[in-house]
């Protein structure tokens, strides 16, 4: 029997190999790895900047540029988790011929990569803000960091769930856009939950992304407030979905191999 540390080392080896493979195969063109970070950065920055240019400087005591950036980073991460992370299970299918490579390894690799890319984009955004000498408040970094980690746990679970379901029902991929597009508009990316009359909140705040986005803004600017959102809700949904996705994976992974 293999000891636990041996198994851990084997997992690390496989995931490291997959990560290198992903980097080598994805970014071996002339734009290279830098583009992976630069593209989301450029997209987020351009959109946020355009928005702040059009509609004034502040929403609820928060500069609109920062307001938009928080929302965009979160929603871009959401898109990545449903796209690349969920797709990784199917994409790496030829590699499952090696018995060392299991679907979860491909999934973890992709999750790690996407999370790192978004972190890179965030660093670039922060650097830009610093260089442009835009005034920014950074009140509660601890809350922000834990929200980021929690959000990626949530996104990973959703991605895993979707990845497994798609390998059973490939049609999901076709109608996925139908679900993800509206997420852009109902996740409070472009507006704040405070702008919506309170009686409509139940239609919006079932969505954990609303909680992640609004709370992140609150972590930066406490004066922004956190009405209608709570970290307890976001955390409990995350734990629930994490449990379900892992249970589903545990139950189905051997069958996913032969699909």
């Amino acid at each position: 029997m293999l000891s636990f540390s041996d198994q851990l080392a084997a997992w690390r080896r496989v995931i490291f190999a997959l990560l290198l493979r992903e980097l080598q195969s994805k970014f071996n063109d002339k734009l290279g790895l830098g583009w992976a970070f630069f593209e989301p950065f450029l997209f987020i920055f351009a959109l946020s900047f355009a928005r702040s240019f059009i509609s004034g400087s502040e929403v609820h005591s928060m500069p609109i540029l920062i307001f938009m950036m928080v929302g965009m980073v979160a929603i871009q991460s959401f898109m990545a988790s449903l796209g690349a992370v969920a797709g990784s299970i199917k994409k790496n299918k030829p590699l499952y011929a090696f018995r060392q490579v299991q679907p979860i390894a491909a999934f973890v690799t992709s999750l790690f990569l996407e999370c790192a890319i978004k972190l890179g984009a965030i660093s670039l955004l922060s650097l830009t803000i610093y260089l442009l000498q835009i005034d920014v408040q950074f009140e509660n970094p601890l809350l922000l960091i834990s929200l980021y980690a929690l959000m990626w746990t949530f996104l990973g679970s959703v991605g895993l769930l979707f990845g497994i379901i798609t390998s059973y029902v490939p049609e999901i991929n076709k109608i996925k856009n139908l679900f993800t597009r509206p997420m852009f508009f109902i996740s409070c990316v472009f507006f704040s939950l405070q702008d919506v009359p309170e009686k409509y909140w139940p239609y919006l705040n079932w969505n954990p992304m609303v909680h992640f986005i609004e709370l992140s803004r609150y972590a930066l600017y406490p004066s922004y407030g956190h009405n209608g959102v709570s970290i307890e809700y976001a955390a409990s949904i995350t734990i629930l979905i994490l449990f379900f996705s892992l249970a589903l994976y545990h139950h189905t992974w051997k069958r996913v191999l032969s699909r």
């Binding site: 084997a10 080896r13 496989v14 490291f16 190999a17 290198l20 493979r21 080598q24 195969s25 071996n28 030829p94 590699l95 499952y96 011929a97 090696f98 018995r99 060392q100 490579v101 051997k254 191999l257 032969s258 699909r259």
Partner: protein, 223 residues
């Protein structure tokens, strides 16, 4: 020795589950090189993938204490956008090769790719790809090599080399092979597992197995 215990394997389909094997019990020795023969769709490749643990049975077990290679088919694990070297290193890493540098070097030499080793695999011909995959597998020590027609594409010189290597390896390890080309089977193997209607039969004598497979009387040795 490989022991198959109460194995059931099916694939889902529109017409309900398609059973490839149902409650199969079978044992066959692996000391000698084994060829798996059977008609198209009989389940050769399935059995092969089950042996390699690339897939798992619905029920039942496959028991063995030998280290198996991955099923070496034409393209397994090769990414067309990566160079031969990168692909080799990937396979080496996955299989926990002790010295990647050493391994890389041996594969390059064995596959006779020379400078092209550093070009993306999409620029390779299919023969070169097969050579690369074969070289990657042969340079890792396994107890049993699972080979799926991978040797059939190489040129005669490479096939000769592959045969010699396999012969060299067969002192310490076995080969299980899937092929339709009987010439090839005769070249590499010395016993046969025949799959028919989800049942397996082991023939210790190669020619006997082949004659059952082709429905022709056994050829005399030394023709």
């Amino acid at each position: 020795m490989i022991e198959i215990r109460n194995l059931t394997k099916s694939y889902p389909s529109k017409l309900g589950p398609q059973y490839i094997f149902k409650n199969l019990n079978f044992t066959f020795p692996t000391e000698r090189n084994v060829a798996i023969l059977g008609k198209n769709g009989a389940g050769k490749s399935t059995l092969f993938r089950l042996l390699a643990k690339s897939e798992y049975p619905d029920r039942g077990q496959i028991l063995t204490n030998r280290a198996m290679s991955w099923p070496v088919a034409l393209q397994t694990g090769i990414h067309p956008h990566m160079t031969g070297r990168e692909n080799t290193r990937f396979i080496g890493r996955i299989n926990n090769v002790r010295s990647l540098k050493n391994y890389e070097h041996r594969v390059q030499k064995f596959a006779e790719l020379e400078k092209k080793f550093d070009l993306p695999v999409r620029n390779y011909s299919s023969g070169m790809r097969a050579k690369l995959v074969f070289a990657c597998c042969m340079n890792i020590d396994f107890d049993i090599y699972l080979i799926d027609e991978a040797t059939s594409v190489g040129d005669p010189l490479f096939r000769k080399k592959a045969k010699e290597t396999l012969k060299e390896k067969s002192k310490t390890s076995g080969v299980i092979m899937v092929s339709h080309e009987l010439d090839q089977v005769r070249e590499y193997c010395s016993s046969v597992v025949l799959i028919e209607d989800g049942k397996l039969t082991y023939y210790e004598d190669l020619e006997e197995g082949i004659s059952v497979y082709t429905n022709q009387p056994k050829k005399e040795k030394g023709k």
